[in-house]
């Protein structure tokens, strides 16, 4: 197998952003985008572990048909907190707040984001929101599902809904401020000569993500505030008993929460574009198509929310339009998949850990996306609504897509972030564990859903047991795959090989500076003269 990691000759820079200052205060009051990225990295890992623990309990309960591990009420709270933590406190900030925060200024040759202090504020808002959600789950829990459908959430639920909603509301502002910072930074902070079509695709996808964060998040903010007010003061906006319309809540909620799916997946697509190009030693096939597909996904993403509501009182004609528009989103998504595949064609492909994750992403995202089309067909959707088919579909996109892309990016830029290499064979082993464990966990759920097993129940008829046991077994392998990077990445901080400035001989401005970079990123202005991804000019890696 060819490998392209170059044995580092460079030594670690004496002064970098990690060792510039050492006090706890210097971390908690930092305005350096790289340090804030590290703060985010630690905090989202914490919430990922909590969400993952909840998932473990879910899979253990579903090992047997009877509800023997926990009561139905406890189960409701466990899957709700799994959803809340994973979506609002892991997936939405995952790539933008960590890799995005670290890389957006570096990829465009800037010293920092446009508003460094707002960047820090956004991390604090995230932490406050996360603590509130955590508090809600410890004191009373929340049993509404992460979707908070009214009137259950606004009137009847006996659990701690208000505090959890407040947490999500505050975390939403963290997301808005991150989007605002990226948007302004990409518009105004690019290095001289770095025109729009010279930008890395990572930047394009983060630009599209920022627009979604800015225009979608406020709508869910006002919606959740109205639910809080309805619950505390007794407004009647979503309560049918008082003449309100519960379906209005679903419209407003999905107006954000469907674009939120693209907030989660678009940055992942940006990561994959970088990695596929680097490990194929080729510029991405159809650069401008991939870039505009990001914008098209962002635009169309705002027009498809009604496909979550085919079984409500929404008019059939509205349903037809939403169905059609949902099919349209498949076009830019497929453009990306085809272009990544074409990038590999006749490329000098090597299978380092990030590339393994990237291939995993392409395959699993394709399955997740195509099953989305099954659900976008109205007649099919009526059969599949609220079954495990839906659960499998969005886990293929969110875990098979987004989490794999996050791991791919984390491994790819780990040498840049820390200056150290992780043990390659362990990385590959973990990538295999994740891929095999993931498919074993979630593919049976497609079958379960098609057989009619409904989601969100703690007990099920015995005929579904075999597939559920398979799923729980897969989850165990998946957990090993997720736990391994936690250990070897931490290990590499002290004992990993020094990475050098550019261990993959990759293009992109972030590789022109030291690893880890200095506080202001570049000691001399980065060279922006080349077209994007000039891999044809880089030497072909040596066969070893």
């Amino acid at each position: 197998m060819s490998t392209l990691i170059i044995t580092p000759t460079a030594i670690e820079p004496e002064e970098n952003y990690l060792n510039a200052e050492h006090t706890v205060k210097s971390w908690l009051l930092t305005v350096d985008h790289k340090r804030i990225a590290v703060l985010y990295l630690i905090s989202i890992t914490f919430f990922f572990i909590i969400g993952g623990t909840m998932a473990t309990f879910i899979r253990l309960e579903l090992l047997t048909p009877q509800g023997d591990l926990m009561t139905a009420e406890t189960y409701n709270k466990v899957f709700t907190m799994h959803g809340v933590f994973m979506i609002f406190f892991f997936l939405i900030p995952s790539i933008p707040a960590t890799l995005g925060n670290f890389l957006v200024p570096m990829m465009i040759g800037a010293r920092d984001l446009a508003f460094p202090r707002i960047n820090l504020l956004s991390w604090y808002l995230y932490i406050i929101g996360g603590c509130l959600a955590l508090g809600a789950s410890i004191w009373g829990g929340v049993d509404t599902g992460w979707t908070f459908y009214t009137p259950f959430s606004s009137v009847y639920s006996q659990s701690n809904v208000v505090v959890a909603l407040l947490g999500i509301f505050i975390a939403g502002f963290s997301s808005i401020l991150t989007g605002l910072n990226f948007l302004v930074t990409i518009h105004k902070m690019r290095a001289p000569g770095l025109t729009w079509f010279k930008l890395p695709l990572f930047i394009w996808s983060h630009y599209a993500t920022s627009v979604l964060m800015l225009l979608g998040t406020p709508v869910v903010a006002i919606t959740l505030s109205l639910v809080i007010l309805e619950r505390t003061l007794g407004l009647g906006i979503f309560n049918p008993e008082l003449g309100g319309d519960p379906v209005l809540f679903q419209h407003l909620f999905w107006f954000y929460s469907h674009p939120a799916v693209y907030i989660m997946i678009l940055p992942g697509m940006g990561v994959i574009s970088e990695i596929v190009a680097c490990f194929s030693r080729k510029a991405p096939f159809g650069y401008s198509m991939i870039a505009s597909a990001s914008l098209a996904i962002a635009f169309l993403g705002f027009l498809v929310w009604g496909h979550h509501m085919f079984v409500t009182s929404q008019s059939v004609y509205a349903g037809l339009v939403f169905s059609f528009l949902s099919f349209l989103v498949a076009i830019p998504s497929a453009v990306k998949v085809f272009n990544w595949t074409a990038t590999c064609w006749k490329g000098s492909v090597s299978l380092e850990t990030p590339m393994l994750y990237a291939f995993g992403f392409i395959g699993l995202f394709t399955i997740g996306g195509l099953t989305g089309l099954f659900l976008a067909s109205m007649a099919n959707d009526i059969h599949l609504t609220d079954t495990y088919f839906v659960v499998a579909h969005f886990h293929y996109v969110m875990v098979g897509g987004m989490v794999l892309a996050y791991l791919a990016g984390l491994h790819f830029w780990w040498p840049k972030i820390t200056g150290r290499m992780y043990p390659e064979w362990l990385g590959r082993f973990a990538a295999f564990c994740v891929f095999i464990g993931f498919n074993l966990t979630f593919f049976p759920q497609f079958l379960l859903g098609n057989l009619g097993m409904p989601r969100r129940y703690h007990a099920y008829p015995p005929e579904f047991q075999v597939l559920n046991v398979l799923s729980t077994a897969g989850a165990t392998v998946l957990a090993v795959g997720f736990a391994l990077p936690l250990f070897y990445l931490l290990w590499s901080l002290k004992w990993g090989k020094l990475a050098g400035n550019n261990p993959y001989n990759a293009t992109g401005l972030e590789w022109q500076t030291t690893s880890p970079p200095t506080t202001f990123n570049f000691d001399s202005p980065p060279d922006t003269s080349d077209q994007p991804y000039p891999y044809h000019k880089r030497e072909v890696p040596v066969e070893r």
């Binding site: 920092d112 202090r117 605002l180 302004v184 009647g236 008082l242 001399s524």
Partner: protein, 280 residues
């Protein structure tokens, strides 16, 4: 849109990111001994004053787009119920005091004018002018909030605050369909419209939106007053000079946005049935 106009990145002296650039965030240093090397008010992450000014302005406009969607979500809900419960909303809106709302509209419009004057003075670097106009703006903003408090208090006494005690003027109907008594007549004298039994619950939805929308708006006014206080303090330290006025400008943008939001809320909540030809 291209960010890289020669005007921004043209001067090579500023394009090279300097490792030793001082870190002082957005707050400009009070002492400014070497304007040639490091322009007054320039934060470390920017190359030059022009870039900083454009970034800050775009940032505020993007934030206002967010605000637009925030109010937009609630207004979309309002429009839905306005169509579903057309007559009830007409009558409920009739319980608002349009004249007091009109006074408040005028107060806010004048405050926008004084805000614009303050920005104009900031461009001139006129410290006293900035402070004078901002204080007038703050007085007008506080007046608006005072009038709003008066209205809320009045609605509270009229039992028009959503919740268990909410009630609107209506007839109590006997079993045979005749009118038995008038319940909760409201202010005697100006004869409020009577709500049919089906219209009583939708009336509460109207007032739910009334309090949600005006409440969120008032919250924005309070934030605005806080921002103005901050700007006044900075102006009193003479921080807005040598062409540095971005904080005043973007606070002005925010203030104008909050005014414009009210310009939409006033007709939606107070004026939907003032022609006398619709409803009833």
């Amino acid at each position: 849109m291209s960010a890289n106009t020669p005007a921004i990145h043209g001067a090579p002296a500023h394009t090279a990111p300097t490792h030793s650039a001082p870190m002082h965030g957005h707050a400009p240093q009070a002492d400014d001994g070497h304007a040639g090397e490091h322009p007054y008010g320039l934060a470390h992450q920017f190359d030059d004053v022009e870039q900083q000014k454009e970034a800050v302005t775009i940032g505020m406009w993007a934030f206002l787009a967010t605000e637009l969607m925030f109010f937009g979500g609630a207004i979309a809900g309002y429009v839905l119920y306005r169509n579903t419960y057309f007559h009830a909303f007409n009558k409920a809106s009739g319980l608002e005091n349009w004249f007091v709302g009109c006074i408040n509209t005028c107060v806010l419009l004048v405050s926008s004018l004084t805000m614009a004057m303050a920005v104009f003075r900031a461009h001139q670097g006129d410290r006293k002018g900035i402070i004078k106009y901002l204080i007038v703006t703050m007085i007008l903003g506080a007046t608006f909030l005072g009038v709003k408090a008066y209205e809320y208090n009045h609605l509270f006494h009229e039992r028009l605050v959503p919740g268990r005690n909410f009630d609107v003027p209506h007839h109590v109907i006997n079993a045979d369909g005749s009118i038995k008594a008038e319940a909760h007549a409201g202010d005697a004298g100006h004869g409020p419209p009577h709500f049919t039994p089906e219209e009583r619950r939708p009336a509460m939805i109207f007032f739910s939106f009334y309090f949600a929308l005006t409440g969120v708006h008032a919250l924005h006014m309070i934030v605005g007053l806080g921002l103005l206080t901050w700007i006044i303090i900075r102006a009193s330290k003479n921080e807005f000079r040598d062409g540095y006025s971005s904080p005043v400008e973007i606070t002005g943008l925010y203030w104008h946005f909050v005014d414009i939001a009210w310009i939409f809320l006033y007709p939606l909540l107070y004026l939907i049935d003032r022609s006398g030809h619709v409803g009833h």
